[in-house]
């Protein structure tokens, strides 16, 4: 019949006979006849493996891959060769949520290790076992702030990535929450405005670093201001950069969220990635998602188990902290292996190389005289620069030369005219940067 169905004619006869039936369709007596689907689906005919390979090779060839020089939430980082071999082991790949800890210690232990590593990087106390992606983890942080403070408004920086902004807006609207926006000035959140904007109705202040413009924002004294108002400070941080820059924990954040894609997850057309969430221990019972804890079995053997489940939908139903069930567990394994391989020195090297590449590109672009400083602010691997080269000309020249870069921020907000996003990771070579600068420097219009 088909390689995925083991039933022979003989099996079918025996099983139906045992059930006292003549035809397999007799099993569906409870389905009213007028809703029964009569015939064949109008879908493609089946393909054998040879045809499938050819079909997908063709579909793959309909896409253009580039040397990537922009970010905005998706980065072309180094993927160690080891990881796919580990994550494709069937014991990890094909297992379910570890509800039977006796036969799921592999999954449970890596979740525990993942939580430990997320807390190390963010400087927070507790991490859950993963969320879908960065933007949805931000939305969950917003709901959590609402639940903790019982306040209906959010104060959010305008200098955050557009996809985070859009997801927050959607989730807030349907939940009946309101978002007030903190303006951006000179490439960063205008923190002086917070004092005027913040009211007793605000559940959280939400900021991102590095921000929409690639700028490393300075949150000195921000937490004191926010906490004095009874609000929570939520920091959305690029987790890879936290090996180098101040952590949400050091900034006294209550909740840290973001995307772990920057920890070597393939850029893969946007997913699967992984959203992280880490909080102060006082907030653990309001945190969404699964949490793994350490315990001992009957014989005193150290082991791991899902814990604090009374927060979750399968126990609490409509009173749960969140509706999340499936998370991104396999991607949590991915980044646990990544961080194990890289360790503190590897992660430091990744940041150094990205920083140096980005700053080299920045300086070389300025030297062409076709680019100008947009903001004189500290950045790491991603930056915003001003150019008067017409955007379409720049785009077509880059594409022809095989680059994806100079993403126009005007696509996000028309007011950001003439501003362009660049990102450089450790994967980019000096030769690639020189080639990019050569293309852009040679443009005339």
């Amino acid at each position: 019949m088909h390689k995925y169905f083991p039933h022979t004619e003989h099996d079918l006869r025996e099983m139906l006979q045992f059930l006292g039936l003549n035809d397999i369709k007799d099993l569906f007596q409870d389905v009213p006849s007028h809703v029964k689907f009569p015939g064949d689906y109008n879908i493609p005919l089946q393909m054998n493996e040879i045809e499938l390979r050819a079909h997908f090779a063709k579909l793959a060839s309909l896409n253009q891959t580039y040397t990537i020089f922009s970010g905005l939430g998706a980065y072309d980082h180094y993927e160690p060769s080891v990881i796919p071999f580990i994550t494709s082991r069937q014991e990890f790949l094909t297992s379910y949520t570890p509800y039977q800890p006796e036969v799921a210690q592999g999954t449970l232990q890596y979740i525990f290790e993942y939580q430990s590593m997320i807390c190390e990087l963010t400087g927070m106390d507790v991490s859950n076992a993963s969320m879908y992606d960065g933007p949805t983890s931000a939305a969950e942080a917003m709901f959590m702030a609402e639940a903790i403070t019982k306040r209906p408004k959010m104060l959010v920086s305008s200098a955050i990535f557009p996809h985070i902004k859009e997801v927050l807006k959607t989730y807030a609207h349907y939940r009946g929450l309101e978002i007030d926006w903190i303006p951006a000035t000179n490439g960063h959140t205008d923190l002086t405005e917070i004092q005027t904007l913040l009211t007793k109705e605000h559940a959280m202040v939400f900021v991102q670093k590095t921000n929409l413009f690639g700028v490393i924002e300075d949150y000195t004294n921000l937490a004191d201001l926010v906490h004095a108002n009874g609000s929570l400070l939520v920091i959305y941080a690029d987790i890879a950069t936290l090996a180098l820059i101040k952590t949400p924990g050091e900034d006294q954040a209550d909740i840290a969220v973001g995307d772990c894609q920057t920890l070597g997850i393939p850029i893969g057309f946007g997913g699967p990635y992984l959203g992280y969430m880490a909080v102060k221990k006082t907030h653990v019972r309001k945190m969404p998602g699964r949490i793994c804890g350490l315990s001992y079995d009957k014989n005193g053997k150290r082991s791991f188990v899902l814990t604090l489940q009374a927060r979750e939908q399968h126990i609490r139903r409509e009173k749960a902290n969140s509706n999340i069930c499936s998370n991104q567990s396999l991607m949590a394994l991915y980044i646990t292996v990544y961080l194990t391989l890289l360790g503190p020195s590897g992660l430091k090297r990744v940041n150094e190389l990205s920083y140096q590449g980005a700053h080299y590109l920045y300086q070389e672009l300025l030297k062409t005289k076709k680019f100008e400083v947009a903001f004189d602010q500290p950045f790491l691997k991603e930056f915003t620069i001003k150019s008067l080269i017409p955007a379409p000309l720049m785009q077509s020249a880059l594409q022809q030369a095989g680059f994806f870069g100079a993403y126009p921020l005007a696509e996000i907000d028309p007011e950001l005219e003439n501003l362009y996003n660049f990102a450089v990771t450790e994967k980019r070579t000096k030769a690639e940067i020189d080639a990019l600068v050569h293309v852009l420097g040679g443009l005339s219009w």
Binding site: Q90, E102, P135, I267, C292, Q313, A320, Q328, R349
Partner: protein, 490 residues
């Protein structure tokens, strides 16, 4: 043999590395120069191990897991079918891994074509008009579907519809999604046959109803045969009908939710369409709607004109609910699976899955309590052992099964019974596997009578025995740092 595995932090030796990266090469002007006030202050305690150390650690961890390829995995409601290798091979094609989600449409025609074609196939299989593949998982799909429900009523300036009807047998995600979406859950009772109590439904209908969520077949594995009456009642009251696609596997080849009058639904691609569960995710939960709800589907949307695919932000959409296009490499796998089966074979899934479940049910109902007689669909539910005189509970049966190399069924769900054992074999299991499982289930029932302590103390052969869950909740040792602190106390 399963090795005892240390926590990775305990294997760390300062100076070891497991990566290979270039040396810095940009010269003087590019040295890191970040103001001290912006720099990380604390040291970074991550493991330091060699590449082989890392591989051995995770390989040894994997030996402690049961996967679908290890053995039978009859978890009800989870559809633990085989995750084909060709799906994995296609999903690892380098080109797919290298595409930036913000590239322009002309440069990503291949992936947009896959998006569009898979969405169309899901429409045909489910009888709904159009799909978004952006939702990340089943419960994310539910939330998105409920947002669409709310947006529809609001678009008609009907703001008082804030209540959503949910049967008491529903998956926990249903009421949780309603609450997250800022609406009120109204629970509808089940009859003693396990289906929606239509009289109770009638009693709760009003012009404040936004809609109803329904799983069909329901979580007891029973087809809601009053579906036509239910859909009419809900629609006449001005509500929309939501289909929870968790149990869609039963219907492939038999019926389509769209034909039953459902307006919105999600599909768990990680259940019905063979993508791996990954120890809890990533999944994918595409949402489909009838024609009048198409404008509300989330952004970004993939459109096609004259053979050219492009991305659109629709102003009537509920908005954006994901960073980009959802879990791309998960829905890619589902597309491969569908093409592998094709029109010829996909229609056999529901009947074969249903046959397997009924076979198990009939083979076990003399030793396990079958609360509801009659044909089941893709899964069957028992209410514990028939003979519970020795005090052996469902949990004990589940744990004892682990000793025989089977994963445990779903237990203590649905909540309608006290000792639920929910078994879903799926269509991929052979008669031989089912017979072996039946034999073991019967043996456990026998042991429960003759050697109850053996069952109550199970499992005996797994990497660990039963865990002290109270200790975990009380001590809250949630990181390696917590563990070191706890050790220093004792």
């Amino acid at each position: 043999m399963v090795r005892d595995t240390k926590i990775i932090f305990e294997q760390s030796v300062p100076g070891r590395i497991g990566y290979s990266l270039p040396n810095p090469c940009y010269g003087e002007g590019c040295q890191i120069d970040i103001p001290a006030s912006l720099k990380r202050q604390s040291s970074l305690n991550l493991p330091e191990v060699s590449e082989l150390d890392a591989i051995r650690h995770f390989t040894n961890l994997s030996f402690k897991n049961h996967g679908v390829e290890t053995g039978f995995y009859p978890r009800g409601s989870c559809t633990m079918k085989y995750n084909p290798k060709i799906n994995e091979e296609i999903a690892s094609i380098p080109t797919f891994n290298q595409l930036h989600p913000l590239q322009n449409s002309a440069s990503i025609q291949g992936v947009l074509k896959i998006y569009d074609e898979l969405a169309k196939i899901l429409s045909e299989l489910s009888g709904l008009h159009q799909y978004s593949l952006n939702p990340f998982a089943g419960s994310h799909g539910e939330l998105v579907g409920l947002m669409i429900m709310k947006a529809y009523h609001e678009s008609r300036s009907d703001f008082k519809r804030r209540k959503v009807l949910v049967p008491d047998s529903a998956h926990g995600t249903n009421p949780a999604s309603v609450a997250v979406c800022g609406m009120e859950v109204i629970e509808i009772k089940s009859t003693d046959k396990g289906t929606v109590d239509v009289e109770d439904l009638k009693a709760h209908l009003s012009d404040e109803i936004a809609g109803m969520m329904l799983t069909n077949p329901n979580t007891l594995g029973i087809f809601e045969s009053d579906i036509c009456q239910i859909q009419k009642l809900v629609h006449d009251a001005g509500g929309l009908l939501y289909y929870d696609g968790a149990n869609l596997n039963a219907l492939l080849g038999m019926a389509r939710p769209g034909d039953m009058g459902f307006d919105i639904m999600h599909i768990n691609l990680h259940k019905t369409f063979s993508t791996p569960h990954g120890g809890g995710g990533p999944g994918s939960g595409p949402v489909g709607v009838v024609e009048k709800l198409v404008p509300f589907l989330p952004n970004p949307q993939v459109k096609k004109q004259d053979g050219y695919y492009y991305i659109e932000q629709n102003k009537d959409a509920i908005g954006q609910i994901s960073g980009f296009f959802g879990n791309f490499k998960v829905w890619l796998r589902a597309y491969v699976y569908i093409l592998t089966l094709g029109k010829e074979a996909i229609k056999h899934i529901g009947p074969l899955a249903t046959l397997n479940a009924n076979y198990i049910k009939e083979k076990l109902k003399d030793v396990y309590e079958l609360p509801i007689e009659g044909f089941c669909m893709h899964e069957c539910v028992f209410d514990g052992l028939k003979d519970q005189s020795t005090g052996v509970k469902t949990l004990d049966v589940a744990k004892r099964l682990l000793d025989f190399g089977f994963h445990a069924p779903t237990v203590y769900f649905p909540l309608l019974f006290h000792q639920s054992i929910m078994i879903e074999p799926t269509e991929v299991e052979s008669k031989q596997t089912l017979d072996e499982f039946v034999q073991v289930m019967r043996q456990v029932a026998w042991e429960a009578k003759e050697q109850p302590e053996l069952v109550k103390n199970a499992p005996h052969t797994t990497p660990i025995s039963r865990i002290d869950e109270v200790y975990a909740a009380k001590k809250m040792i949630l990181t390696y740092k917590d563990y070191v602190l706890e050790q220093s106390k004792s």
